[in-house]
Symmetry: C2
Subunit: 293 residues, 2 copies
Amino acid sequence: MTVGFQGELGAFSQQAIRQFLGAQATPKPHERFDQIFAALQAGEVDAIAVPIENTLHGSVYANYDLLLKYDFAITAETSVRVVHNLIAPPGVTFRQVGTVYTHPVAIDQCLEFFAHNPQIRREPYYDTAGSVKMVMEQHSAGSTPAAAAIASEFAAQIYGGHILKRGIEDDRQNYTRFFLLEPKGSQPHGDSEGASAGKGSGRKGLAVRPWKTSLVFTTRNIPGALFRALSALALRDLNLVKIESRPLRGKPWEYLFYLDLLGRPEEEAVGNALRHLAEVADFLRVLGTYRAA
Amino acid sequence: MTVGFQGELGAFSQQAIRQFLGAQATPKPHERFDQIFAALQAGEVDAIAVPIENTLHGSVYANYDLLLKYDFAITAETSVRVVHNLIAPPGVTFRQVGTVYTHPVAIDQCLEFFAHNPQIRREPYYDTAGSVKMVMEQHSAGSTPAAAAIASEFAAQIYGGHILKRGIEDDRQNYTRFFLLEPKGSQPHGDSEGASAGKGSGRKGLAVRPWKTSLVFTTRNIPGALFRALSALALRDLNLVKIESRPLRGKPWEYLFYLDLLGRPEEEAVGNALRHLAEVADFLRVLGTYRAA
């Protein structure tokens, strides 16, 4: 199974692919998010792994928009613990580092590190793992100030970088949630995984993870429209775990809403809620039903 | 009055300052958003103009987070029409352009231009106007492929750039909404402006813009919590015009909610709604009351 992802080998997305599918999946790097969606559409890959939100940065807008532009099925979600490390070519010391290259989101997640080290210039780069690759390739021994990168330990290993400082993120509660996307109609992953995860623990209740359903809708632009839409869930005691709004193209200051709720359409309350939501929404699409991470 | 903004002279934020305060305000450029908030805190500027959302890109996360981190008052909002132009040093032709530098958000807003011109490489830069300044400074006559920038017509004028293509944004409905922030307790702007805007038109109803109030809150992490919070508005027929969620630091997969509603706390329904919201919210702060743009 070939799985497209954004970034270079060693990116956090590659870790997500391993969590989704184990070692049998072949990760295929791409430069940009729109390219991985296009690759799945063209059948060049069997699935794609996309970051959707991070506990420090928030939602990944570009991918919410691409979820709507394309019509794939979310078949799994997973959560990757993000640890950022300052990585430089072997021989470079911390005091020699003048510039740090990394993805803008990684910069945002290491603001305290930069505040405490004002001598270090921050430079955005398109990918964390790619920044290690680039810094390693462009390094000439002995030149100061030297360049460093911020990325995963895995990226340091792949490109032969040396970790100068470990765990420089502002907050340890740094997790990125990923979706696995496959062509429309694909079955959700993780049922067998859910059943086997509890082996030996004897705690059967923890073994099966709950279902989650993601959807997107628009409301009419009238007072109370969002409240009415949420009532479809609240009146049935359904648990809304995430809401995200995105601008509606061509209609300034109107919005699309993305919701994640616990449950699946086969359950009576969820099925009824979706029918109720369809009544009050101008547009509604279910993006997928999958096992909660 | 000195007003801090992010970017170089010629940035869209400078246009916002002109709309807020006219020509008497002195715009003061800064490299990053956190620096303008710190400058206002330190009293180095009298006010700051910050982009909060764009009709194509969505919300400016960093500024939502900074609104919470600092405790200023939103005293006005305005909406700036964003027109992106491809700008190069005089003498450079479109066919010679190999790389385009601009702010990542501007790249996102010109995706169709890049899709139709795959020979052009896109390079993120920290500011639109700054990308024009840099491209002009680093240009050496006759060198190809040449670099160009994407920015406002105003930026082209300031730095002597030549507009190769006008209006290359994907969507003409491209507006950025800005807040003017001043120290806590400052009075809202725009009352006199609202009263004078209708002069000569005779349409008094259009002259006074409605009030808007922005607030931020968290709910307890229980099913239906957001629904209950929104009921405080909906039960009083108040108009929720924007909702934005941001991750709650240190509590993975929990969220802060930012709301904009029409009205001001002095109105009975709004005052009651805020008291009701305070009952169901764990945390609530009013960020400001101002005239709607």
